[in-house]
Amino acid sequence: AQSVSQHNHHVILSEAASLELGCNYSYGGTVNLFWYVQYPGQHLQLLLKYFSGDPLVKGIKGFEAEFIKSKFSFNLRKPSVQWSDTAEYFCAVRPNYGGATNKLIFGTGTLLAVQP
C-alpha cells in the first residue's frame, strides 16, 4: 500500500534557524507531491506542490521543497524560520493512476514550534 513518512514528529527551532522537514513516500509510479500547513485553529492550506518540471519548487512564505525521484523524497526547507511559522506541516502524495479520482495520501505531520 502507498504510504507517506514524515520522520520528524516534533521540531523545535529558534527564530532565524534553518528548517528542513523530511518526507518520503512509497509508490513507484507517477506522483504529485504537496506540502500543507495547518496553523493553530485553522484549516489545512497549500504551501507548495510539485507536478512535473523543475524538481526544486518554491512556495508561499519563503518555503521550498526538492523532489528527488531516486530517493522518493520531497523535503521541505526554509532558510530562516519565523515565530509565525509555528504550525503543523503535512506532506501529501497523490499517486497518478490516470482516469480514476486521484486521492491524497497524507503523512502523519510534523509539529514545528519556533521560539522567539
Partner: protein, 113 residues
C-alpha cells in the same frame, strides 16, 4: 470568498447516538472528500463523491455514511458513534479528479461521551 465551510466546528455526541456533520462549498467543485484525522495521525480518507458518484474506501467502517444532495453540500453520517470515532473530520473539495490540490474546510472536532 469561495470556500469550504464545515458545521459545526465542535460537536459532542453520546455513545451510540447518530450524528451528522455537514460541509458546504461555494467553489462549484465536482469532487468532495471526507477525511478522518485522529490525534497525532495522518488524515485518512473515508470516502469521496465525484458529482453524484459515491466512492467508499475499502477500510471505511459501515458505521460511516455520506450523502451529497447537490453540488454544494455533503454530509457525513455516523450511525452509532463509538469512543474510537472521536476525531477531527475534514471536508475537502477539488475541481475534478485530476485537478490541483484540494481546498479544505476548517474541520469538525467530534467528541463522543
Amino acid at each position: 470568498d469561495a470556500m469550504v465551510i464545515q458545521n459545526p466546528r465542535y460537536q459532542v455526541t453520546q455513545f451510540g447516538k447518530p450524528v451528522t456533520l455537514s460541509c458546504s462549498q461555494t467553489l462549484n467543485h465536482n469532487v468532495m472528500y471526507w477525511y478522518q484525522q485522529k490525534s497525532s495521525q495522518a488524515p485518512k480518507l473515508l470516502f469521496h463523491y465525484y458529482d453524484k458518484d459515491f466512492n467508499n474506501e475499502a477500510d471505511t467502517p459501515d458505521n460511516f455514511q455520506s450523502r451529497r444532495p447537490n453540488t454544494s453540500f455533503c454530509f457525513l453520517d455516523i450511525r452509532s458513534p463509538g469512543l474510537g470515532d472521536a476525531a477531527m473530520y475534514l471536508c475537502a473539495t477539488s475541481r475534478d479528479a485530476q485537478g490541483d490540490g484540494y481546498t479544505f474546510g476548517s474541520g469538525t472536532r467530534l467528541t463522543v461521551v
